[in-house]
């Protein structure tokens, strides 16, 4: 193994962080799905590095599995995004928070005073 195992782990961690940042911060559903994909890939890298280090095939098997899952996930995710876009006319996730009615500032002040 030419590249040290620690470096691979740092790379995977950085990739995972990038992915989660993308998934959490971007106000675009497509970019969120993209972030999730990046995180999956970061996990895949770890699996590969592990497989190489311990000379074990299970890591590579898992990567194939992850790829398959990523493909299906992207398919379903994109379908959902298309549905959501049809419904609301935007791909911003803030428009889909139908579960919560956000209290305004003055309402909050009222709750505190009670």
């Amino acid at each position: 193994m030419i590249v040290p195992f620690g470096h691979v782990i740092v790379l995977a961690g950085a990739l995972f962080l990038l992915g989660i940042t993308c998934a959490v911060c971007r106000r675009n559903l497509i970019m969120v799905v993209l972030g999730v994909e990046i995180m999956l890939n970061a996990a895949s890298i770890i699996f590969l590095a592990g497989a190489l280090r311990w000379f074990s095939m299970e890591g590579q098997v898992f990567v194939v599995m992850v790829l398959a899952i990523a493909a299906t996930e992207v398919a379903i995710g994109l379908a959902l995004i298309v549905y959501a876009y049809r419904r609301t006319g935007s791909v911003d996730p803030i428009n889909f928070n139908c579960l919560n009615e956000q209290p305004t500032g003055s309402q909050l002040a009222g709750f505190i005073r009670e």
Partner: protein, 632 residues
């Protein structure tokens, strides 16, 4: 075996006699509340049983040498053993008999007085309760048992003073009596605890034995005696706590008669008799007692001099006579106090029952109104009132003269002459205020038209009620006259009590009876000059000075003072601080907790914005934290 049988029969008599009224109370309250006649019959039957047993006990133990005590274990707590039982000695036997006799007569009288009252059954039930608690108080062998019945006496007198509870003032008077006596009872309870701490038990015979001086340091003994004396002050309406008694006349007249003569207020003096040697061990306590008795006597006399309410006048006279008794007891005369208590019970019950007849007939308490309506035509009650007032004033052939003379002789034996002088002044004032209502009622300025020449009211039923009421009056009047001549037997009877105690007899001064009767006659003469003489203006010499008259009529502003203390010190001082603490600290902290919870919930709700990305962030953060926790 014979002695055992005798003891058992004594015990049986005592138990039956003292507990019969309680059984009646329970029966009436549970079963016969809606059958007034049955209730009255039951109550009167139990009073008769009590009377009979008290007389049997008194007769059977007339030559009692040493106290009889029967106790059974009631409670054991650690080292403290609390027995419950009976203590029969001359003091308790005499008191038991007095209570039983007065109780029986008053209940009989009530048949007439309370006839037709909607609360007839309740009245007799409460009277039975009152009698039961007082009789059990009388025969208590321990201070603990005495304290229980002491409070029961207070409770039942609260019920009876506030008997006509629809009347606002009656309810108020009941509460006032209860709360004011409670003040003294708290002090008494502390005193009892103090004795318990040092002595280890509350047996009255042990408290009265000289060994308590060795067990308690002198200052502790004094403190305990003073605290217990506080209870006596409350119960017997002495100086600082005397204002509840004049208000207690809001109850029915027979209740006042019972309460003033032999039960409620007499309980205080009786407690003093009970713990007589104990009090004498502390000279400070007896001096304080003398001062309190003297102050109460003079204070109440001045108040009685200006009152217009007949029951109130007799109430003030009760306070002053109780002051007399306490003076006599504090001067070291057990017989003086006990004898005056006995004679006082007879003539005070008589006076109140007579007042009850007048009030029942004319529906007013005011002596001038009563006079104008023609009380002088009710010959028997009027004559009885005169006999009672004569005894109260201490006029020679009547019982009050003899008992007062005993007290005065004791006081004359004291080194300090001021007590005797104060008592003689008291004798004069007593004669004055006792005969003031008499002359006002006997010689009204204008009599109503003589169409109602027959004193007894019309109608057979009314006449029957009147007869029922007059019967006890005659008996009591007879007792008032006769009791004075029983002085020597009673003295011999009581001589068996506390024999180990050196209570040197008071100086027997030959001139004292003459001075006393002279002063009493002088008081009566002054009253006659002011109220009874043809053409008298019927205003007392006190009324000539409006400031003083007002001062006396307002009860020396004692009530106002208490009101002011309550308003300013308690309401605005202590209560205000406590209320502030309640609203600010307790309510504030609880409100703060609830508001904080609400706020935290709202803040947490901000996170739960329904935004999928926030949730993701949360999941991530939680996973990171969990992994940190698990791996490091």
């Amino acid at each position: 075996m014979a002695s055992c049988w005798i003891e058992n029969s004594t015990l049986l008599t005592a138990i039956v006699g003292t507990w019969a009224p309680f059984v009646t109370f329970v029966l009436i309250m549970l079963f016969t509340r809606h059958r007034p006649k049955t209730s009255a019959g039951l109550s009167l039957a139990s009073a008769t049983v009590s009377l009979a047993s008290a007389l049997v006990l008194l007769g059977g133990h007339w030559n009692l040498q040493r106290p009889l005590e029967y106790t059974g274990r009631w409670l054991v707590s650690g080292d403290i053993y609390i027995p419950f039982g009976y203590l029969l000695d001359p003091v308790s036997l005499l008191m038991l008999t007095v209570v039983a006799i007065i109780g029986f007569l008053v209940q009989f009288y009530s048949l007439g007085y309370m006839a037709g009252d909607p609360g007839f059954s309740r009245y007799f039930a409460l009277m039975s309760l009152f009698l039961w608690s007082m009789m059990c108080l009388t025969i208590s062998p321990t201070l603990f048992q005495l304290y229980i019945f002491w409070e029961l006496v207070g409770l039942s007198s609260y019920f009876l003073i506030g008997f006509w509870y629809e009347k606002f003032s009656a309810g108020q008077a009941g509460k006032k009596a209860f709360v004011m006596t409670r003040l003294g009872d708290v002090a008494m309870f502390l005193g009892v605890l103090l004795i318990l701490l040092h002595l280890g038990n509350l047996n009255i015979l042990e408290i009265d034995s000289p060994k308590i001086v060795g067990l308690m340091p002198p200052e502790m003994l004094t403190l305990a005696a003073l605290l217990i004396f506080g209870g006596i002050i409350g119960k017997s309406a002495q100086f600082p706590l005397l204002t509840w008694l004049p208000d207690a006349m809001q109850g029915p007249s027979p209740v006042s008669a019972l309460l003033h003569s032999s039960t409620m207020v007499a309980a205080g003096v009786y407690l003093f008799e009970r713990l007589f040697p104990f009090f004498l061990f502390s000279s400070t306590a007896t001096t304080v007692g003398l001062a309190i008795g003297t102050i109460s006597m003079l204070l109440a006399s001045t108040m009685a001099m200006v009152s217009r309410d007949i029951k109130q006048i007799w109430a003030y006279s009760t306070i002053s006579q109780l002051g007399f008794m306490l003076m006599g007891l504090d001067a070291g005369g057990l017989f003086a106090g006990a004898f005056h208590l006995t004679t006082h019970a007879a003539f005070k019950a008589l006076l109140f029952l007579c007042a009850g007849v007048f009030i029942h007939q004319y529906g007013t308490n005011d002596i001038y109104d009563l006079a104008a309506k023609g009380t002088r035509r009710m010959r028997v009650p009027m004559l009885c009132t005169i006999i009672g007032a004569g005894a109260l004033a201490g006029l020679p052939p009547l019982s009050g003269f003899f008992s007062k003379e005993v007290i005065l002789a004791k006081l004359a034996g004291l080194p300090n002459p001021i007590w005797l002088v104060a008592a003689l002044l008291g004798v004069f004032l007593t004669a004055y205020y006792a005969f003031r209502p008499i002359f006002i009622m006997l010689f009204p300025p204008s009599l109503p038209a003589a169409n109602a020449s027959n004193a007894a009211p019309e109608g057979t039923r009314h006449r029957l009620l009147y007869r029922i009421m007059v019967g006890p009056l005659v008996i009591l009047a007879g007792a008032t006259v006769a009791l004075g001549f029983l002085q020597t037997p009673l003295r011999n009877f009581l001589a068996g009590q506390y024999t180990g105690l050196t209570t040197a007899g008071g100086a027997h001064l030959g001139w004292l009876p003459y001075v006393t009767s002279l002063l009493a006659t002088g008081g009566v003469a002054l009253t006659w000059w002011e109220f009874g003489r043809p053409g008298a203006r019927q205003t007392g010499f006190v009324d000539g000075i409006p400031v003083i008259a007002r001062f006396f009529a307002e009860r020396w502003y004692l009530d106002r003072l208490y009101r002011a203390i309550l308003d300013h010190a308690v309401d605005r001082g202590i209560s205000a601080v406590l209320a502030q603490n309640d609203t600010r600290v307790i309510d504030g902290s609880i409100d703060g907790i609830s508001r904080g919870t609400v706020l935290a919930g709202r803040l947490a709700a901000l996170i739960n914005a329904g935004m999928i990305q926030y949730r993701l962030l949360m999941i991530f953060a939680a996973t990171v934290l969990l992994s940190l926790y698990f791996f490091f």
